[in-house]
Symmetry: C2
Subunit: 199 residues, 2 copies
Amino acid sequence: MPEGVTPKGARGRILNAALHQFASQGYGGTSVRDICAEAKVQVTTLYSHFPSKEHVLAEVIRLGNEEHFRLLRDALLESDPEPRKQLRNLVRAHVLSHCEFSMLAVVASSEMHSLSEELATPIIAIRSQSQSLLAEVFKRGIRLGLFDVPDIELACRAIGGMGLRVAFWYEPNCGKSPDEVADSYAEFALRIAGVDRSD
Amino acid sequence: MPEGVTPKGARGRILNAALHQFASQGYGGTSVRDICAEAKVQVTTLYSHFPSKEHVLAEVIRLGNEEHFRLLRDALLESDPEPRKQLRNLVRAHVLSHCEFSMLAVVASSEMHSLSEELATPIIAIRSQSQSLLAEVFKRGIRLGLFDVPDIELACRAIGGMGLRVAFWYEPNCGKSPDEVADSYAEFALRIAGVDRSD
DNA sequence: GTCTATAGATAGATAGAC
DNA sequence: GTCTATCTATCTATAGAC
């Protein structure tokens, strides 16, 4: 869990434990008792913080998506407004966040189907915001004649998807640093965008 | 399930039902009773075909990975041996299979963690074979001076990952045909490979 | 907030007749 | 292979004392 995002005390320990368990065993394969054992709290304590196991999952995913969105937004805010630089910085932030918080990404992308519509809706809204950041960069890049893609939606899905998958294979001792992966993927994204290589 | 892959009779109905349930509810969220109800068999019938629920999952994933490998291999066998054409045909087959058999891909990629090491090992072996097909094409393309990538492993992971994610969003009425998606992704892959655009 | 105890439902898997 | 019936374990969630 990102620093400063997890609440202090029992609630934070519960969310961290749930994150670990959901990432390695899945939502359905994790029991409330498993979470409580790792978090070193009683079952009743969990139910004093969350109305149900499903609400624990929803909170984990929501925190993850909000942090992810913040990182993308900050990357854009701090970027030179030139679309190629924006794309590069956005993809770098996307990949770095999936290296560093890979468990969050795994849970957020694998366990959405375990949420009821009521709990899923606000999370889907956050995710849409993140996706539109990339789409807007692409629209500007094309309007300014810097990008060349046949289909913006497919290009965004391809770039988003390849970055998302990083969370499923990256580990600190895999021989590559997050920075190396992020740089390579940013280069791939620029190539997908069809930027002129002679620049 | 691909035609001709699913066994006839009760066993085939069980595997198809399990595929549906695992894809929409996850392995842990699906009960043996759920599978049997959809397959219209008794619980005892399932246990006469499979030693456990986990073995049902393993068989679903194994069939999916074997079919996926076959499709990739056939695409290469039938391809002009020129590396750029090989890459294009391989990525097209990869994407088409993830459009057509998206449930299989979703289950195979989301539920591996539910398998014990014993049941996971043979499946991982098949997956490695599929991955090496792409890696070999890349090695040839670079040796012949046609591709230009900083890191083969990352390029393969990026291309494989963006194609895999297609299974999670593609649906027949999404406004794009599998062929359109496959063509665009093949173009993205060629761009990632750094092929000379002047050809 | 934290404990013991437990309700009530459902899970995976099996026995044994046919 | 198919049925009814059931075992045993575990699940989510709660009651009520402190």
